[in-house]
């Protein structure tokens, strides 16, 4: 069937901010879908609140609404755009839930919008546990024995029947949020309690434990002609009990015979037919008993999922793209396979390689959190690697993680065997390393299988690595055959050095002298059966290389590796933009990255894609291979965050041309002394600072600067390890706790500026002219990491003189350090003095936000500048505005607010309680949203709506603030009362409010316990759903008992019950403005394209 002719416009819903369980993969899928729909001649209307995405680039859709994904807002968009159809299967659970809401509230019917690619019944029967179970049984499959419960009592009764341990799974939550194993009643009360609250239908499923079973996933596609194909099978190395998003996974499955695999395939196909998945992708998970083979169907997702992105990258079969085509009427056999061009998409990819995905975690950001991996997903990113054997792929994947203490290593002593085996029983982010160390220490495959339930085949493959390492250690000489054998198993030069007592550099020199290099093979969907037309490559120490030769000048762009807190999709955005811009400018672009969730690793994004780890060794080999195949102009390290930046110096030393800001200039900005000199020469003040290579040095520096001080290790992103330190003893403790502080990497100490306005600037510099991209004013005061802080662009309180000072200072820094491309500077404005906090000569996290807020593609311009263009040239070309910049936006320019999304609801401590939610200099947000409107209040309201903490316009507000904040909270709280909200407060706060004429009801503190008549405490009130908003600013510093603890209980209760929570007075002021805007009802919708038209008109008016 060809494309339906009755559709002319389609609304696509994105997945909103990056959160754990729903990350950049939906940018990849949504971008693909939008492009496909547009290429089919359809008008695409997009809604997504996440600015840091390619899909929200104005050229991807015809009308792009960066608006909250709520029924209320989407209805406004539908009313305005009147799309014929809604495609909800490419924006994760968020989009699917939004579609269900729109259907249930009658909005789709009202406006005659047809759901395509999905139908409500299928969504509901796929998601509703009980009906899904019925479907599985009707096709002859098995489900785990289970009970649906709607109350804690029902849960307790059901658990008696099923026997502990039981699995708790809340309905309709993403990433398995709120699920877990309950081993006893205490566990059950805690997990089921939270699960009932998290589920929008207050429903949880309790089920028999299938802990330790083998776990598999199939990715399927179905078309309107009922053709079904399995795109990929995925086997979890970690057996059942660890969320698949947190598991190490392998594609294709390694330990199933054909009969068993076909049985899974048959069940999968029967289930999606029975569920009635309309068209598109779907994912189904199985547990298989390791000794009986009994198969249990766990769940299915009737939409493109995280695993679909992985499967697409693993096979070269673009699930999202094809899902979009199927949704508009095509059948699989009508769609050509992009990679081979000649064969159709109605086939099942076959792999002649092994793919390994490993998750990356951020437990170090949440010190109290329980590190055990469970059925609630906690990882924040992932790396994927491809090799011609499992060991090769595993080794590449582990080194792609770039995380100390997690990867496989042969340095140092392995430790005690029994202790390692014992520790490996509990799944944590370091389990694979423990297994490897245990093998080093002499553990057997049997012992480790007993401890971990990891399939013996995988353990034997790890033993294979260990045996190879031992042979390597014993080899009298590293000759070509010895080295080659190690390289074939994926050993890095670094590991070979560890084993043989040489440095990485010496091993590499030796290897190169022996002419031993990897070759690059193509991901071709067909195991070589047909020629591949798309250069999607991976390295292997294999037979013959498949790198295509060519004369076109090439630029290699290094991506940002696995997503992590502080280095996420924003950097991928910049890399993708660079690729687009350089391709337009006539270069052949070569992308290197190992993150399967991204647009950059779509084989369509760049002319060539290398799916490779971003280590020096792997990058150098790519450069060598590309140089051998044609001219390479240079490598861009500036756009992918700290990962590629950290390679700059060594790449240059190895003779690789690094374009843009020179590695020397990058170092200069990081070097306190040299950078201080740049500031001095330009007459720019910086907070007093010092550097310490040891505690003594740090102490001396802090004494001179004066407490409180801000301390952090050098070369970090996302404020990793950054803290405000109030005393010497805390400083000593800090140095102790931070393993990353070493003589090589000193700790940096800055004066902490209290009560300062923090300002973030992104700018371009070409060596002559500065283009000020945007000036963002933080809503929270200095001391909270810029990534966690909300900000506004244009700034809403800075005067034009301030902006001029910022412009001049930024230019002086750019000139002084020698920036060519992007520069990010953080300032603090305190008592009229503009301090330079830090400067980063690279793309920052805020580049996509600034680009969207000002309708100027900063990353594209930066890439061009790195390749030699000037600001003046780009202005005349039209890539940058002809006049003016982001610092002098027209008066009627829209106001954009960026807000961070924090993952606190994912983490619980070992006691099963939530982790504290107070913001600090350590960044912990996973993503961001953008609220865009004509004035600040409405924009801020949208930003809050988009982070799913809708600010109330009625109900009860609880207020409890630290003494220092009491004065500044009076006015905003009074305003809330005037707007009709009821104020609850603790004793002290209530008294201040009453004396200022604000009526406040006193509630009991948590520490006071319930009253004599059973009067509830504030924490109970929150749990009972009585409170619509909490305002609670922290008292004192970490480690202090008393008020701080009360605040902790309040804040965590708010997180658990999803009550919006304000923790700073500045945040309160912004919240009040937003509530006012909502009460007034002037929160409308406007597309980015419309905003851009306003901006352009304003700019033209300025020119005249």
């Amino acid at each position: 069937m060809p494309r339906r002719s009755d559709l002319s416009s389609v609304l696509v819903i994105g997945s909103g901010p990056i959160v754990i369980g729903q990350a950049a993969e939906f940018d990849y899928s949504g971008t693909q879908a939008c492009r496909v729909l547009r290429s089919e001649g359809l008008r695409v209307v997009l809604v997504n609140s996440n600015p840091a995405t390619i899909m929200t680039d104005p050229e991807i859709a015809d009308a792009t609404y960066v608006e909250p994904i709520t029924s209320e807002m989407i209805e406004k968009i539908i009313a305005k755009e009147r799309p014929d159809a809604l495609l909800p299967t490419l924006g994760g659970q968020t989009a699917l839930n939004a579609a269900v809401d729109l259907h249930e509230s009658g909005i789709l019917d009202k406006y005659g919008v047809e759901l395509i690619g999905a139908n409500i019944e299928a969504i509901q029967s796929g998601e509703d546990r009980e009906s899904f179970k019925g479907i599985v049984e009707s096709v002859g499959g098995n489900s785990a024995r289970s009970r649906i419960c709607h109350s804690l009592q029902e849960c307790l009764d059901a658990a008696e029947e099923l026997d502990y341990p039981v699995v708790v799974r809340p309905s309709f939550t993403m990433g398995g949020a709120g699920s877990g194993f309950a081993h006893d009643e205490g566990d059950l009360r805690r997990i089921a309690g939270q699960g009932l609250a998290l589920s929008p239908t207050n429903e949880v499923l309790l089920e028999e434990s299938i802990l330790g079973w083998k776990e598999y996933e199939l990715e399927l596609m179905r078309d309107a002609n009922d053709n079904v194909v399995v795109v990929c099978s995925i086997e979890n190395l970690d057996p059942m009990g660890v969320h698949t998003g947190d598991s190490i996974t392998v594609a294709p499955s390694m330990t199933l015979t054909d009969r068993e695999y076909q049985e899974l395939r048959d069940i999968g196909i029967a289930v999606i037919r029975e569920v009635g998945v309309d068209t598109g992708g779907c994912n189904i998970q199985f547990a298989v008993h390791p000794t009986t083979g009994r198969i249990i169907v766990i769940e299915m997702n009737p939409r493109v999922s995280r695993s679909s992105a992985l499967a697409s990258k693993a096979t070269g079969f673009p699930i999202a793209k094809i899902a979009a085509k199927l949704a508009v009427g095509y059948t699989l056999d009508e769609i050509p396979n992009d990679i081979t061009k000649e064969t159709p998409a109605s086939f099942e990819p076959t792999l002649d390689y092994v793919v390994v995905k490993v998750p990356r975690f951020a437990f170090e950001k949440f010190p109290g959190a329980d590190p055990q991996l469970t059925t609630t997903m906690k990882s924040v990113g992932e790396a994927m690697a491809i090799g011609r054997s499992f060991p090769e792929a595993l080794q590449k994947a582990m080194r792609s993680l770039e995380k100390k203490g997690v990867g496989l290593t042969w340095s140092g002593a392995p430790g005690d065997k029994d202790e390692l085996v014992e520790r490996a029983k509990v799944p944590t982010e370091t389990r694979l390393r423990q297994v490897q160390q245990a093998l080093r220490a002499g553990a057997t495959v049997e012992e480790l299988h007993e401890a971990t339930r990891i399939d013996p085949w995988y353990l034997d493959q790890m033993l294979r690595l260990e045996e190879a390492a031992r042979a390597l250690a014993r080899a009298p000489k590293l000759d070509v055959s010895v080295l080659r054998e190690a390289k074939e198993l994926g050993f890095s030069d670094l590991q070979i050095g560890e084993i043989t007592g040489k440095s990485e550099a010496v091993v590499r020199e030796l290897r190169h002298a022996l002419g031993l290099h990897p070759v690059y093979l193509t991901v071709d969907t067909c195991a070589g059966e047909f020629p591949a037309r798309t250069p999607y490559l991976y390295s292997s120490y294999d037979e013959e290389t498949e790198v295509p030769a060519g004369d076109k000048p090439k630029i290699i762009i290094l991506g940002s590796g696995p997503n992590r807190i502080g280095q996420g999709v924003e950097f991928d955005y910049s890399c993708v933009h660079a690729s687009f811009a350089l391709s337009d400018a006539g270069y052949e672009t070569v992308m290197v990255n190992c993150n399967p969730e991204t647009v950059s690793t779509d084989y369509d994004t760049s002319d060539r894609l290398y799916f490779e780890p971003l280590t020096l060794e792997d990058v150098l080999e790519v450069v060598l291979a590309e140089q051998a195949a044609g001219p390479v102009v240079g490598v861009i390290v500036q756009l992918g965050g700290q990962t590629p930046l950290g390679l700059a110096r060594e790449l240059e030393e190895a003779g690789v041309p690094v374009i843009g800001t020179s590695p020397k200039a990058i170092d200069l900005a990081e070097d306190r002394g040299e950078f201080g000199q740049v500031l001095d020469e330009a007459g720019l003040p910086a907070p007093k600072y010092g550097t310490g290579h040891s505690f003594e040095q740090a102490k001396a520096a802090a004494d001179e600067i004066g407490y409180p001080v801000m301390v952090r290790p050098s070369y970090v992103l996302g404020g990793r390890g950054m803290e405000i330190v109030y005393s010497e003893s805390v400083l000593a403790d800090y140095i102790d706790r931070n393993a990353e502080v070493s003589p090589e990497y000193p700790v940096l100490i800055d004066r902490f500026l209290d009560d300062a306005i923090e300002i973030d600037v992104d700018a371009l510099y070409d060596g002559r002219d500065l283009y000020l991209g945007g000036v963002m004013e933080h809503i929270e005061e200095a001391g909270i990491h810029s990534g966690d802080s909300a900000c506004s662009l244009p700034s809403v309180t800075l005067g034009s003189e301030d902006i001029e000072r910022i412009r001049n200072s930024t230019e002086a820094i750019a000139r002084g350090t020698g920036v060519r491309g992007l520069l990010n500077v953080q300032y603090a404005l305190s008592s009229g003095v503009l301090y330079v906090i830090e400067a980063n000569p690279r793309a920052s996290r805020t580049v996509p936000f600034v680009s969207k807020a000002t309708a100027v593609p900063l990353a594209k311009a930066a890439a061009r500048i790195m390749a030699g263009a000037t600001v003046a040239e780009l202005r005349s070309e039209g890539l940058l505005p002809a006049t003016g910049d982001g610092g002098d936006l027209p008066v009627d320019a829209p106001v954009s607010v960026k807000e961070a999304v924090l993952p606190f609801n994912r983490f619980i401590d070992k006691k099963g309680e939530g982790v504290d939610t107070v913001l600090s200099p350590e960044m912990r947000s996973t993503g961001e949203v953008m609220g865009l409107d004509v004035e600040f209040g409405a924009a801020y309201a949208k930003s809050q709506l988009a982070v799913n903490s809708s600010l109330p316009t009625q109900g009860k507000v609880f207020v409890s603030v630290a003494n220092r904040d009491k004065r500044s909270m009076i006015f905003p709280v009074k305003r809330l009362a005037d707007l009709g909200l009821e104020i609850l407060a603790t004793e002290g706060t209530a008294m201040v409010l009453r004396r200022n004429g604000v009526h406040a009801t006193v509630v009991r503190k948590h520490s006071a316990g319930p009253g004599p008549e059973g009067e509830p405490t504030i924490v109970q009130l929150i749990h009972d759903g009585e409170v619509a908003l909490t305002v609670n600013t922290p008292f004192g510093s970490a480690g202090q008992a008393g008020p701080r603890l009360d605040g902790y209980e309040i804040r965590t209760a708010a997180v658990v019950r999803n009550v919006p929570s304000v923790t700073t007075v500045q945040g309160l002021a912004a919240a009040v403005q937003a509530i006012e805007a909502r009460v007034r009802g002037d929160v409308g919708v406007r597309s980015l394209q419309e905003h851009a038209a306003v901006l352009d008109a304003g700019r033209e008016a300025l020119e005249v």
């Binding site: 002609n225 053709n227 792999l351 294979r464």
Partner: protein, 398 residues
């Protein structure tokens, strides 16, 4: 150890160095065009000759190696890890490994599956099947894709590729090879329906290299299956008074299969319901007067899409054929036995994947609906055959 001769180093073992992995001694694979791959012995030692073909299945090595259609072929598995699930006593498609040689990249050191009885390597050794583990299986596959399936040898005893090449060139080519008699049963045997399934039809199956799963699939559907040797004539078949006749898969060049073609003609003339798979499809084609030809590298895998020309629906199928029938794919055509049409088309390359007579109860497919290994998408073809038998007047139920 260096495993391949690729200009980056010469094979050889370092004095005093231990080989980290327990692996076989050196082995070579030589192609008839002179390309040489170095590797290690896997399975039995010795020397073997055959046509090198690649199989792209990611599962099902046990079924594949025991499929008689692979007789006289050296099978290159494109999936790197082979042997992971060992070998069991249930999934085997015949009584022995028929592949002349097995080429793998990463042979399993340990196997892991609840049904496994022994390792693949033990099985190969005990059956005297020579194999080789080499790193360049992809390069070898691409070579065969571009230049076509060709004669090859694997040897663990010969160290001089040139000498081996000379012996390869003495071997017969697959085109022109009549192999069915070498793989067929020498005496008739019967496969009865499983317990609880009533025998409704009697099917005579001509064993041209039959896979165990095929009579099993018929038996599941209430057929008592009498399997006859390939040399059986139409008279032999009809003497058993079957309700339907089945022509199996098998190795070799269909152009040489004059005996089975004559048998097929006799059965067609008798008007019996008839079903052919793979080689059986080619035999039907020839019996109808159509030509068969050799494909460049054939179809060997379990991900092959075919379109049912009537319903337009796509099935993913297991396939294993180096020859194909030449017939018009876009319209019905006349044959010696009435009008016919192509019932299935291979979507990767528009190859004929099935035939149907329009006026007689006769169907055949080039792919493997019995699916061992492979997806079960086309299993309904067995039902279609049963329906053809049901539609006949007065079925002789036994």
């Amino acid at each position: 150890m260096n495993t391949t001769q690729n200009g980056r180093g010469l094979p050889g073992r370092q004095e005093g160095a231990e080989v980290s992995e327990e692996k076989g001694g050196p082995a070579i694979l030589v192609l008839e065009d002179g390309r040489v791959f170095h590797g290690h012995s896997y399975g039995a030692t010795g020397e073997t000759f055959g046509e090198a073909v690649f199989n792209t299945g990611m599962t099902g090595y046990q079924e594949t190696f025991t499929d008689p259609s692979y007789h006289r072929q050296i099978v290159v598995m494109t999936a790197p890890h082979i042997g992971n699930t060992g070998v069991n006593d249930e999934d085997t498609e015949s009584e022995r490994i028929w592949a002349a040689g097995c080429v793998v990249r990463e042979p399993a050191r340990a196997f892991s599956n609840w049904r496994a009885e022994r390792s693949l390597e033990e099985e190969m050794r005990s059956q005297g099947v020579v194999g080789i583990a080499l790193k360049g299986t992809r390069a070898l596959t691409r070579h065969l894709r571009d230049r076509g399936a060709m004669r090859a040898a694997v040897s663990t005893v010969e160290t001089d590729p040139q000498k081996l090449l000379a012996r390869i060139l003495e071997q017969p080519t697959m085109a022109g090879s009549d192999l069915t008699s070498e793989v067929s049963t020498d005496r008739a045997y019967e496969v009865a329906p499983p317990e609880g399934v009533q025998a409704r039809f009697h099917v005579v199956a001509l064993d041209l290299g039959i896979k165990a799963m095929t009579p099993h699939r018929l038996a599941e559907r209430g057929c008592r299956v009498t399997v006859l040797p390939a040399s059986s004539t139409a008279e032999d078949v009809l003497a058993l008074d079957p309700d339907g006749v089945f022509f199996s898969n098998g190795p070799g060049d269909p152009a040489t299969a004059d005996g089975p073609v004559a048998t097929m003609r006799g059965v067609l003339e008798a008007g019996k319901p008839l079903f052919g798979i793979c080689f059986g499809n080619q035999i039907l084609g020839r019996a109808l007067g159509l030509d068969t030809y050799k494909l460049t590298f054939g179809h060997h895998g379990i991900n092959q899409p075919v379109r049912d020309t009537r319903s337009g629906r796509v099935a993913i199928t297991g396939q294993n054929h180096g020859f194909a029938v030449d017939a018009p794919i876009d319209r019905p055509f006349d044959t010696d036995h009435g009008r016919a049409e192509v019932s299935y088309i291979g979507l990767n390359d528009q190859v004929v994947e099935g035939l149907r007579l329009l006026d007689r109860p006769v169907i055949s497919v080039q792919f493997h609906p019995e699916a061992a290994a492979g997806p079960h998408d086309a299993a309904a073809l067995f039902d279609e055959f049963v329906d053809l038998m049901s539609a006949q007047p007065a079925p002789a139920a036994r």
